[in-house]
């Protein structure tokens, strides 16, 4: 039997969800340090979804999103995608660099800032994963796309070959003052890494 999110038992799911919580917490702490501002975070919602359903979270396949895509290599391999609805992308840029952007047009500076955010969040997420499991994990340089949710998500969907594949979506709401951001992290380990990950977490 192929091991994937669909056929995990409840204990395995709980451990992965807890990992999602801790990872998201560390990611937001990293952001707070970088901005030198107090950031409040709600308890992250961790859900297991089919890849083809993920775009519904953003209001459908045509809804514009920012997607930051990174590859994990080392003791575990797989992909991480950080997804932000457009409104959250604008608010996050406002937090980061000041000035609210009205339209969908971002300049080079904005794009590299978003890439860097994706890098920091995914990086702190994987370092908590590495710390908890004793695994060695490296993360690739991030790539960014701002486009329709369906189009952005077609990349991981195709890469995994079967639409039935499930992913873990960690939804994090955080805010600085009255600025609210809804960030979503998709964790998609390669099939062969899954067993390894569960073993390291002691729930194989």
């Amino acid at each position: 039997m192929e091991l994937n999110y669909e056929n995990l038992n409840s204990m395995q799911l709980d451990v992965l969800k807890e990992l999602g919580n801790i990872g998201a917490g560390n990611a937001v702490t990293a952001l707070s340090k970088m901005l030198n501002k107090k950031i409040n975070m709600e308890v992250p919602q961790v859900r297991i979804l089919e890849l083809a359903e993920v775009s519904e979270v953003f209001g459908g396949a045509e809804a514009p999103v920012t997607g930051i895509y990174l590859r994990m290599e080392g003791d575990i391999s797989g992909n991480i995608m950080f997804l932000l609805p457009m409104e959250s992308s604008r608010v996050l840029l406002d937090m980061l660099m000041g000035g609210y952007r009205d339209g969908d047009e971002f300049d080079e500076m904005d794009l590299s800032a978003l890439e860097e955010i994706g890098n920091i969040l995914a990086g702190s997420y994987t370092s908590s994963l590495a710390a908890m499991t004793g695994m060695n994990i490296r993360v690739s340089v991030p790539a960014l796309a701002i486009d329709m949710a369906g189009a952005v998500l077609s990349v991981p969907i195709i890469q995994f070959g079967h639409i039935g594949d499930s992913v873990m979506l960690i939804e994090t709401h955080f805010s600085e003052g009255n600025k609210h951001v809804k960030g979503n992290l998709l964790l998609i380990p390669d099939v062969e890494s899954f067993v390894n990950l569960l073993e390291k977490l002691g729930v194989a």
Binding site: A52, S55, G60, A61, E62, P64, G67, Y69, R71, D104, E105, S140, V141, A143, L144, A145, I146, D147, M148, A149, G150, A151, V152, L153, S154, V155, I157, I158, Q159, G161, H162, I163
Partner: protein
């Protein structure tokens, strides 16, 4: 007259008789293959994910692959009255959404999907009369049975009808 728009999801194939509109939202690296028999006014759309069913172990869903989905779509169109000799094609999609510094083979999927679709349509002697492929952006496509027109919407790259 109101015409119902039918959404075609990823790895789905659908044929329909006039009046009909077939729609795919947010096409990225996948390819939308739109076939039209102008005499019988039968349309068909396939939302193709991967180039070949022969490269993958888990290939039960024929609608996913260029080499099997196009066969399937032509058969479904024939079943509702189309004549394969008068079918023409329009294709859209096959974008490369992300550009990584180190380019992996999988990132070329858009391009590989387009190549495979062209090859398969050639094998069936179906002429491609119009196309809008490649680039690094997503597309929403709407295919109309009354005249075989294909409208393409993007974010920041305009709207067109081919």
């Amino acid at each position: 007259m109101t015409v119902v728009m039918t959404k075609i999801g990823i790895a789905e194939v659908r044929a329909a008789k006039d009046p009909a509109v077939l729609v795919t939202l947010g096409l990225g690296s996948c390819v939308g293959v739109c076939l039209y028999d102008s005499k019988k006014k039968v349309i068909g759309m396939a939302h193709i994910m991967l180039p070949s069913s022969k490269e993958i172990k888990n290939n039960a869903n024929k609608a996913k692959f260029a080499d099997t989905a196009i066969d399937m779509l032509i058969e479904e169109m024939e079943a509702i009255g189309a004549d394969r000799k008068s079918i023409t094609a329009k294709i859209a999609g096959g974008a490369q959404m992300f550009s990584f510094k180190s380019s992996n083979e999988f990132l070329r999927t858009g391009e590989r999907n387009v190549e495979a679709v062209r090859r398969e349509l050639g094998r069936h002697r179906v002429e491609i009369v119009a196309e809008d492929v490649g680039g690094n952006y997503g597309r929403t496509i709407e295919f109309y049975s009354h005249d075989g027109s294909l409208s393409i919407r993007t974010i920041g790259h305009g709207t067109k009808v081919i």
